[in-house]
Amino acid sequence: MEHLGEKLAALLAIAWLLPLLGFTIEVFGGYWGARNCKKAAYIAIGCIAAGFVCSSTALYLWGSETGWVALESASHGGHDEHSSATDDAHTAGDHGGHDHAATVVEHHHKQTVFSGCFYRLAKFGSLNLSLDWYIDSLTLTMFVMVTLIATCIHIFAVGYMHEELTDDYVDHQVHTHDGCHFHRPGRFYRFFSYLSLFCFAMLGLVLAGNIFQVFIFWELVGICSYLLIGFYVERHSASTAANKAFIVNRVGDFGFIIGLMILWTSFGTFSFADQHAADGKVQPGLFSMVRGSDGKLEATDGIVVLKTQQDEHGHWQVPPDSSQRKTIAYTLLIVAGLGVFCGCVGKSAQFPLQTWLPDAMEGPTPVSALVHSATMVAAGVYLAGRFYPMFTPEVLLTIAYIGCITAFVAATIAIVATDIKKVLAYSTISQLGYMMLALGVGGWGAGLFHLITHAFFKSLMFLCSGSVIAGCHHEQEMPKMGGLLRKMPITALTMLIGVVAIAGLAIPGTSIALSGYHSKDAILATALAYTKLNSVHFLLFLIPLLTAGITAFYMFRLWFYTFLGKPRDQHLHEHVHESPLVMTVPLLVLSVFAAGCAIGGEEGVLFRMLTHSQPGHVAQGFNGLAAQTVSLPSHDAIHKVHSTAGSAALLAAFCGMTIAYLVYGLGLVNPEEIKKQARAVHAFLANKWGFDDLYDTLFVKPAHVVAKFAAAFDKLVFDEILHTVVRFAVVISKWDRKFDEGVIDGFVNLVGNSTYSLGIGLRGVQTGRIRQYVTFIAVSVVTLFVLLFAFYPKG
């Protein structure tokens, strides 16, 4: 089994590192001598497609070696990657156990989770930081999903970015000071190198075996996002959006770092899984320490005692010896969870840090599809899912509310957005809110389920919008479109699949539906079960339900607005053309997945694959002990309310769709009228609830003020102090000079002067007359004698 882990790690590492290799080659290769050379794209596609093959192989290997324990007997074929595996599926164990690679001694089922270390970054005493890998079914599913979508988007981008294949690219959105359009050489290769780098970072994030490593790749995807948003560096709006994206993400990362600090200081490790030291000792990972093997999190007097000792069964227990116990305050655990979640808020554009994502649409559309809908922004959800065992009920409640608010706020803004990509961006935020909500209310599987399905249909829709934009010569405003169905049928139909999927439409009474229905259904069912347990938090069901209706409304609005009705801009309409095959084929592939990836719903392959990695404590639910803490529903409880929630969701979606059809499809009501009626609301929504202004006033401007203050402080205070000291010293030295000149020099001068004047006086004696000298000699001799006689003692 260890052998399998190594193999999986090797395969995934190849899939992970290939894009890096691709990036290196593309960067050094430049544009391969000619601006119209597509080699860079081929390399990038080759790398990511090979990555997809490796990931799929790994998934298949994992399934076949573990005997498809993840898929229960009820599962059926139909999923591309593992359709062949369903027949010989074994019955899974008594849990969806979140066991760790080496901790659990082989029981009656086979090991399904693997972990290990690539190499060590540093070691300080007992503290160890390394690059690890952690592979379970979630990792594998994510790998396959990311590489698949990325491959499609890479191929699409070859078509979308073909305008860059020139020496003289005219950027119509940038004007030089003389009023002309801006000309520059094309940057085709650079786009693909960034994409490759992004794929590398994203896969590394998924593969990461410890939270610190997650943080590393977290930042790396952030910088890739920065580079890709700011791909049109000449556009001020693009570079500003890129800055905003990165800085807002950094705000989230600030919380992330605090979480990391707490974890690091309290637990002494970042590792998810238990670690085997060279001497055979096993170090517990984060999850084992908090949850032990039974998944229970116990706090006594606000202190959580960590389970750091293994009993004879290999279960992690609290050490009996109290001196060996490691503890962490329960509040600290909450703060740590909130901190890490803060990072997720930033990356997944949750309220209150959602403002960067709509701006991020400045990037080329394939980027929006890959980075800002399907993968990177979902990383926050992925991390929240991965880190689930560390979250206390309080943190989960926060997550649920944040998700709920985000879903609603973003959906309302999407109603009034007119830019086709902005609508999709807000929809992305809203859907991410759904996922967070699901995780928060205990629907671990539902949340990640939605993550995968959303990735497919949202990337599909973005690519469709990209196709539209390319067809409309970079026109993104929906009011100028309309009636495009005839001109670009493939795009329109694939888009419709995406819209139906996200709206969560299904044929009532059956489970024949596109992917979005299943995942959204699962989320709403969990939310309903949750509100039944905690009636205080009833909004956590009602708002998502309402949002589901709004979602259906604005998505259909988008579709009707764009593809039906009469062309609103005749000039534009005449030049519209369907995109080439290189762009439509990825659309078709993705639409197949958007439609069918969730077949079977919660009995389906995908859901089972995901929930196989579900933390052990989720299935049983959780009963809050005190009045303040919340309870989480068990799987059974969720299952009971499933049909109710499904019906409600379907109803809401149909309502939304109908309204949209009435307004935009049939034109019964002029939307302009509504806009005039509710001008204040419209303005509020169009202004994105005023978050940008608020943050600008609250943070950006004060930051600049503080910065100016700091700089001025340096100049006016520190330097001034220094200057004052120096001036003081100068004054002192002036006085000193005066003293020197007046007193000390005065004395010396006095001596000198008197000597001089004596010399001047004596100079008169030196007449130069020889006779006088002789006289002097004679007088001197005489005087000498006289003195001799007078004073020399006689005898």
Partner: protein
């Protein structure tokens, strides 16, 4: 050549080459530059040889040479290295080599410049290798003087002001250090005997705990700390740095940022802490607070700058704050004075040294990048740049990479140092740790905003556009930039090479400090200790 002899060769090779310059004709600028480059390259190769003789398992000083110099006062010519100083020696010779390559832009009085440059390198290497306090001081001053002239003669328009400011600040620091040196010299002597300048001996005495009284340790630590903090530079003592950096010529800015600032940190680690563990612990909270303040303050100040070089200079203040923070996260238990969570402190210490190294690579690179564009357009106003990415794509790519390293991007050297230090800080103080973590936002803010204004955008807004077009990046400049960037990435991906080097020595140091503090407290200072620990909370 034995490592013992090699060390002296390393220190004095630049001087020999400086002597060699005498025989060149004043007009022969190009040969002189190559000769000096040769000198720095030889020094660099020698330091590499020295690194080969280093054994990472040995925690103590390796290959120590001790030759009496002034015997009456127990002053020795004592050099040696361990895992802490070796990386810095390597960094010094490396940065010197690249700065010398960058010195081609110096056109005025080349001979004098090169001689001073080489003398400066001798001083720097001497500081890192000397183990005698007196010798250390001598090299410290040897380094100061060439720097003064290099800024004062080859600097920008306000060079006299900057040079004098630099000189006064540093001299003030050295004077304080001198007082501390004498305190230890006389403090280490039993009644009526001659004291010691031997740092190893003094460290051992401090560790024993009964030689230096707590009062002496606290006083000496404050003196030493201020002396070194000026060099680091820490928050209240940093104002010389922007001026010196802005006015100094590019290669000297590189040296200044790459090596000189590291001396402050090195001095604190090598001298201030080991010699007065009690004083260090006494002041730990203040030190951490100063470090955090530097991080935040430097970041904000950088955000407000419009002078490109000044921005980078303030980023240095911010980045060096992490060094101080990492060094000082020494938490003790109230009951017995033993360090709490020593591994975290060890991590902070290691992180601090790594941060010095990382900053020693990324910051000179940033200054070099500023210098490259300054050589062409002769101004540094950030708001008058823009669009360079289109005009000089290669240059902009290198610069962006290097600025990302400064930003603390994972996979580049800045990240490891900053994050390791910040992670270790929680153990010491929660509040300060959170404040220090907020530095990541500010850093991202000023670096990205700067990148946007300088490199992005449609067109160049300032003067001398023709100069940019006429002078693409030369091979020499590309080489320097690419080398820096490569090292940024290398250390970011494989930090373990550095940590393997520093690990053992650092462990020994931390162990010694812990013991030293406990001994001092037990043997001498019961009353003050309670005050100290109360202060901790």
């Amino acid at each position: 050549m034995s490592p013992e002899a090699l060390m002296s060769w390393i220190i004095f090779t630049p001087t020999l080459f400086a002597f060699g310059l005498i025989f060149f004709d004043k007009k022969a600028e190009e040969p002189m530059r190559y000769w000096s480059l040769c000198g720095t390259a030889v020094t660099f190769l020698q330091t590499l040889l020295l690194a080969c003789s280093f054994s990472p398992e040995d925690a103590g000083i390796q290959h120590m040479v001790k030759v009496p110099w002034i015997e009456n006062w127990h002053i020795n010519y004592q050099v040696g290295f361990d895992g802490i100083s070796l990386p810095l020696v390597l960094l010094t010779s490396f940065v010197s080599l690249l700065s010398m390559m960058a010195s081609w832009s110096i056109k005025k009085q080349v001979k004098g410049y090169l001689v001073l440059f080489l003398l400066l390198e001798t001083g720097m290497l001497g500081v890192f290798l000397s183990l005698d306090f007196f010798l250390f001081y001598v090299f410290w001053e040897v380094m100061l003087l060439p720097m003064y002239f290099l800024i004062g003669i080859w600097g920008g328009p306000r060079r006299e002001y900057a040079a004098i400011k630099f000189f006064l600040y540093t001299l003030a620091g050295s004077v304080l250090m001198l007082i501390a040196i004498l305190m230890f010299y006389f403090g280490s002597a039993p009644e009526g005997q001659i004291g010691s300048f031997d740092l190893m001996q003094l460290t051992a005495m401090a560790e024993k705990g009964d030689v230096f009284s707590p009062g002496l340790q606290v006083a000496a630590f404050i003196l030493l700390f201020i002396g070194f903090a000026i060099k680091v530079p820490c928050f209240p003592f940093h104002t010389w740095l922007p001026d010196a950096h802005v006015e100094a010529p590019t290669p000297i800015s590189m040296i200044l940022a790459g090596v000189l600032l590291k001396m402050g940190g090195y001095g604190i680690i090598r001298i201030a802490f080991p010699l007065c563990p009690y004083g260090a612990q006494y002041a730990a909270y203040v030190l951490v607070a100063i470090g955090v303040t530097s991080i935040i303050y430097g970041g904000f100040a950088a955000l407000a700058q419009t002078d490109f070089k000044r921005l980078v200079a303030y980023s240095s203040v911010s980045h060096m704050g992490y060094v101080l923070l990492g060094i000082a996260v020494w938490k003790i238990s109230e009951s017995n004075g033993a360090a709490v969570g020593r591994d975290y402190w060890l991590m902070g210490m290691n992180g601090a040294v790594f941060q010095m190294l990382a900053h020693g690579i990324s910051s000179p690179a940033m200054f070099f990048m500023v210098g490259v564009i300054y050589d062409r357009v002769h101004h540094r106003d950030i708001n008058q740049f823009g669009g360079l990415s289109g005009l000089m794509p290669l240059y902009s790519g290198l610069a962006a990479g290097i600025f990302f390293a400064g930003l603390g991007l994972p996979g580049m050297c800045g990240f490891i140092g900053e994050v390791f230090v910040v992670l270790s800080a929680w153990n010491f103080s929660k509040t300060l740790a959170i404040v220090s973590a907020s530095g990541v936002i500010i850093t991202a803010g000023y670096i990205l905003w700067c990148l946007q204004r300088v490199y992005l955008g449609p067109e160049y807004k300032g003067p001398h556009l023709d100069e940019i077009k006429a002078n693409p990046l030369t091979t020499r400049e590309t080489f320097i930039g690419a080398t820096f960037l490569a090292f940024c990435i290398f250390f970011g991906v494989f930090p373990n090479y550095v940590f393997d080097m520093t690990g053992k020595s650092m462990e020994k140091l931390v162990q010694g400090l812990d013991t030293g503090y406990q001994n001092t407290q037990r043997l001498t200072g019961g009353v003050q200790t309670t005050q100290t620990t109360q202060k901790q909370n």
